[in-house]
């Protein structure tokens, strides 16, 4: 989403301005801390006065977020933050609205609201903390848990096909879709900023580690030892390269991506796919989103950023303006009187 800074230059803010007095109550070592840190660094960089931020969340460990951001915040009910956030943005389009949710909150109970929020293109920034588990209720599997995961509620392993948040968001036609990781504050901050600057709905998945109930779930992808081979940093206009020193790349083979070695022995750089966040085909981002562990490196960064349609709140405002232009500003007495009246005379 984007919000124009107020006319008068806002006093420069810094991270501390967004820190609340409340004790942060996540488990020590939880990935949420790093995300909080990143967002507290992002907000001051946006040039928006503090009171214009609103952080709306559902229920879950992640959804405790608003309590820790020193601005307006609303910790709502499980899965329903998209509804509240939509109401906030429609009521006051000047606000910079951030929606914090979890994989359970946003994709299990809240999946439908999320789908419609994305489809409507309300100018809101969605941050989905994906730890592939229900943290707050102490460890049941979630809609992003991999098949076979043993949890309290799947003692013999889950057999449900997981959802991929990025694919979900692309499928729901979100204009801005990105993925970032809780162990890279710089990447998070840059991603959040890009989301904020996109006018229209922005959806960001964050790989988040839950130390208690799903520790290390992303280590095969973003662990110190693995990340070179397993993370593919998406950079607009750059070829898709990864591996130590970018030794490998991604090439298109029919409708499928293909890993190639780049350089003398392998493929030439110009055979590689060039990342284009504004790619005209929906299938481009969809193709990226199909890549992932273990066959492919996992892309992180902005998958897609297009501004094809007006935002929902602008649509509402436009119809109000337009009817006022044609029918005139509504007059209450006229409304009360209506079209057909009659007079009962005195006496």
């Amino acid at each position: 989403m984007s919000t124009t800074a107020t006319e008068t230059a806002a006093p420069a803010l810094n991270r501390k301005d967004f820190v609340t007095e409340n004790d942060v109550r996540w488990c020590p070592g939880c990935g949420d801390y790093a995300i909080l840190n990143a967002l507290q660094r992002t907000f001051p960089a946006l040039g928006i006065p503090r009171e214009k931020f609103v952080v709306v969340s559902g229920i879950g460990c992640s959804s405790r977020f608003p309590y820790y951001m020193n601005t307006y915040g609303f910790h709502t009910i499980h899965g329903r933050a998209p509804a509240v956030a939509t109401g906030v943005k429609v009521a006051n389009p000047e606000l910079s609205v951030w929606l914090v949710t979890g994989d359970g909150d946003g994709l299990s109970i809240g999946g439908n609201h999320m789908l419609h929020l994305l489809r409507r293109n309300v100018d809101i920034n969605v941050l989905l903390f994906n730890n592939r588990v229900y943290g707050l209720t102490k460890g049941q599997y979630s809609p992003t848990s991999p098949v076979g995961m043993r949890t309290k509620s799947s003692p013999f392993g889950s057999f449900e096909q997981p959802l991929d948040p990025v694919r979900f968001a692309l499928g729901a036609e979100a204009g801005f879709v990105a993925r970032t990781v809780d162990n890279n504050v710089k990447h998070m901050t840059a991603t959040f900023e890009a989301a904020a600057r996109h006018k229209g709905l922005s959806f960001v998945e964050i790989f988040q580690n839950c130390v208690i109930f799903n520790d290390g779930t992303f280590d095969p992808v973003y662990g110190r030892e693995q990340r070179d081979e397993q993370l593919l940093y998406l950079e607009h206009g750059k070829p898709l390269r990864f591996g130590k020193d970018g030794a490998k790349g991604i090439r298109l083979n029919g409708l499928e991506p293909e890993i190639v070695t780049v350089g003398e022995e392998g493929a030439a750089e110009d055979e590689l796919l060039i990342h284009d966040i504004h790619h005209p085909s929906h299938l481009f981002a969809a193709l990226l989103a199909r890549m992932g562990y273990p066959e492919f490196p996992t892309p992180v960064g902005v998958f897609r950023s297009v501004q094809e349609r007006a935002t929902y709140e602008d649509g509402i405002a436009a119809q109000i303006a337009q009817t006022r232009a044609t029918a005139g500003e509504g007059d209450l007495q006229e409304l009360l009187t209506g079209d057909a009246t009659w007079e009962v005379p005195r006496g």
Partner: protein, 617 residues
């Protein structure tokens, strides 16, 4: 052809019902008849009754659509118990409606529709029109409406099928003649509706209407005609209004009185959809309407809008109320203003979606987890919806609380004349803002109302967090046992404090006597009529109609003490009665009907009479 000699009879009220196939346009002519009567200065109440199906098979029993109205020169409070006149456009309409027609009533039928096929669809073995009993019991007027309409439109360019569609206006014209209604307003309405877009249709309807009217003047069977004088109501300018329309303008007015924008989020559901639809047409009043993906989202959006400073409203019917429950609980605990409209229909579950009932009262009060109190108010007639919309908004905004406004299918679709309010004289809604001079304490309360004062996002220096976990006064999450008890009781006390702001309780009759009738919602007209009749007959009967169901009116305590027996008529199994019995620790008599239909005056009258008799013995 002998010109019939008109014999006018003055009557003070009459009940007319139009019935036909859903494709026959009965709602349209019902509305037109209503408008004409209103413009003729009569008081009116209407009761449209459409089938649940969009368009059931033509000629079938479930496909029958009806429209009843009562109009008169005296105050009219209900659409009437039994029609004095029935127009039946086909056998199915006759079958499903004739049982209600008063003895010696006027029965106008479209003879042409009594074909073999239609008779079979309606389940008649023989043509009921040939039944001598029918002709003995009613004054039957057999008209070849289809043929006569076609004849009247002989030189219209319309197709035969389209010509036949004008037969409702033919029937209307005839009834206009019977009841001496002016036809000009209808002619004008035809012009304004179709004149430009479909001039041929406008012309055909005009001619059909006139043909029906002239038939009355010229046809061979002489018969009674009636004149109904102007009603002696309060002088002033009137309009006709339905319940949902009154909610629409009431909400827009309320937002203006509070200096706020209106944001209405809803999800279509019968019989509440027309609130959303009505508001969507008034965008030039700055109204924001959202058609949400479901009722949960709708209430959440309205709550979000309220939080951000709009007047947030959502509306639905029973099944949708179930879905809103969790969010309403959040509104209770975050103490945000929110108006939730429930246009009740027959339940449980999907129930009888197009019928009326008053069975969501206890749900409104108790349908959430935890101790979750909120004010509940009820509209008692179509026009009263205007007051109710303002009142619900006032309470929501002044007490910073969700409020449930109960209407019902009968009120929503029925209509009545309304003395148009003066926009300049509407009551103010005073939203108290937090003081800019003190540090903001988000759950600190106003001493009068106990409401917390709201700082909406965007206001610098008032940044704070709210949410569904229990909070201390400072607004931080608190698991402290004593704080929870304190907050629980404060929330209850705040709702109770609304009682102090109510106008005196209106009572028809003396404050003491034999029988008090306590009603709420759409039963008002029937109860008031029955009580008036009994008082006229000299009985010590009074009635009061509750506009506020929670908190109950403080005046009620004394009133209840003043009567030997108290009757609580409700279109449910006794929901208000349960609340009253619990509050007063005494027993109340119920009159309960769960048939998807409103009370008749007679039902209430009979029940009171029964009680009066039992008191004598």
């Amino acid at each position: 052809m002998i010109k019939s000699k008109d014999r006018f009879r003055e009557i003070d009220a009459v009940v007319v019902r139009f019935a036909g196939d859903s494709g026959d346009g009965m709602q349209t002519v019902g509305e037109q008849f209503t408008d004409a009567s209103a413009l003729a200065g009569n008081d009116i109440r209407t009761l449209p009754d459409f089938p649940a199906e969009i368009r059931a098979p033509a000629g079938s029993l479930p496909g029958v659509s009806g429209y009843q109205l009562q109009f008169g020169s005296r105050e009219i409070l209900t659409p009437g118990d039994e029609p004095a006149a029935l127009v039946a456009m086909n056998p199915a309409a006759l079958k499903t409606n004739v049982g209600d027609l008063a003895a010696n009533g006027l029965l106008v039928v479209n003879e042409d529709a009594f074909t073999k096929a239609n008779l079979r669809l309606a389940g008649y073995d023989t043509n009921p029109l040939d039944d001598p009993a029918l002709n003995e019991r009613y004054e039957v007027i057999r008209l070849r409406i289809s043929e006569l309409t076609k004849d009247a439109l002989a030189d219209s360019p319309l197709s035969t099928r389209d010509k036949l569609r004008c037969k409702n206006f033919f029937a209307l014209g005839y009834m206009f003649w019977v009841y001496d209604r002016p036809i000009d307003p209808t002619l004008e309405s035809i012009q304004s509706k179709w004149g430009k877009r479909l001039p041929d249709l406008a012309d055909a309807n005009t001619r059909a209407l006139k043909a029906g009217y002239f038939l009355g003047e010229t046809h061979e069977i002489s018969r009674n005609r009636y004149q109904i004088a102007r009603a002696r109501t309060v002088p002033g300018r009137y309009r006709k209004i339905s319940g949902n329309d009154a909610l629409v303008i009431g909400l827009i007015a309320a937002a203006r009185q509070a200096g706020k924008n209106l944001c209405y989020a809803g999800y279509p559901i019968t019989p509440a959809s027309s609130i959303l639809e009505g508001l969507a047409r008034h965008k030039n009043h700055g109204v924001k309407t959202i058609q949400a993906e479901d009722e949960i989202a709708a209430v959440g959006m309205a709550l979000g809008a309220s939080y951000a400073g709009d007047l947030g409203v959502t509306g639905t019917s029973g099944p949708g109320m179930c879905l809103k429950a969790e969010f309403v609980g959040l509104a209770v605990t975050t103490e945000l203003p929110l108006v939730i409209i429930d246009v009740q229909r027959g339940g449980p579950s999907t129930g009888l979606p197009t019928k009326t009932e008053q069975s969501d009262l206890l749900q409104s009060l108790f349908g959430r987890n935890g101790e979750s109190p909120l004010p509940v108010i009820a509209a008692s007639s179509p026009a009263d919806c205007f007051r109710a919309a303002l009142e619900a908004s006032r309470i929501a905004l002044e007490f910073s609380t969700p409020v449930v406004l109960l209407s019902d299918n009968y009120i929503a679709n029925g209509s009545e004349p309304w003395l148009i309010e003066d926009a300049a004289k509407l009551p103010a809604i005073n939203v108290r803002e937090p003081s800019p001079d003190e540090p903001y304490i988000s759950y600190k309360r106003d001493p009068d109302t106990l409401a917390r004062r709201l700082a909406h996002p965007g206001r610098p220096g008032f940044e704070h967090r709210i949410g569904g976990l229990e909070k201390s006064e400072s607004g931080s999450v608190s698991y402290d046992p004593e704080n929870h008890e304190l907050m629980t009781r404060l929330r209850a006390d705040k709702v109770a404090a609304v009682a102090k702001t109510l106008p005196p309780l209106a009572v028809q009759g003396a404050p003491e006597g034999d029988v008090l009738v306590i009603g709420w919602g759409g039963t008002q007209g029937a109860i008031a009529s029955a009580v008036r009749r009994l008082r006229d007959e000299g009985h010590a009967v009074s009635n009061t109609h509750l506009t506020h169901l929670n908190p109950l009116h403080p005046d009620l305590d004394a009133l209840v003490d003043g009567f030997r027996r108290i009757l609580v008529p409700e279109l449910n199994l006794g929901q208000l009665r349960l609340l009253l019995a619990a509050r007063y620790g005494r027993s109340f008599t119920g009159l309960n009907k769960v048939q998807g239909r409103p009370f008749t005056v007679a039902e209430i009258h009979d029940k009171i009479t029964e009680i009066l008799t039992s008191l004598q013995s």
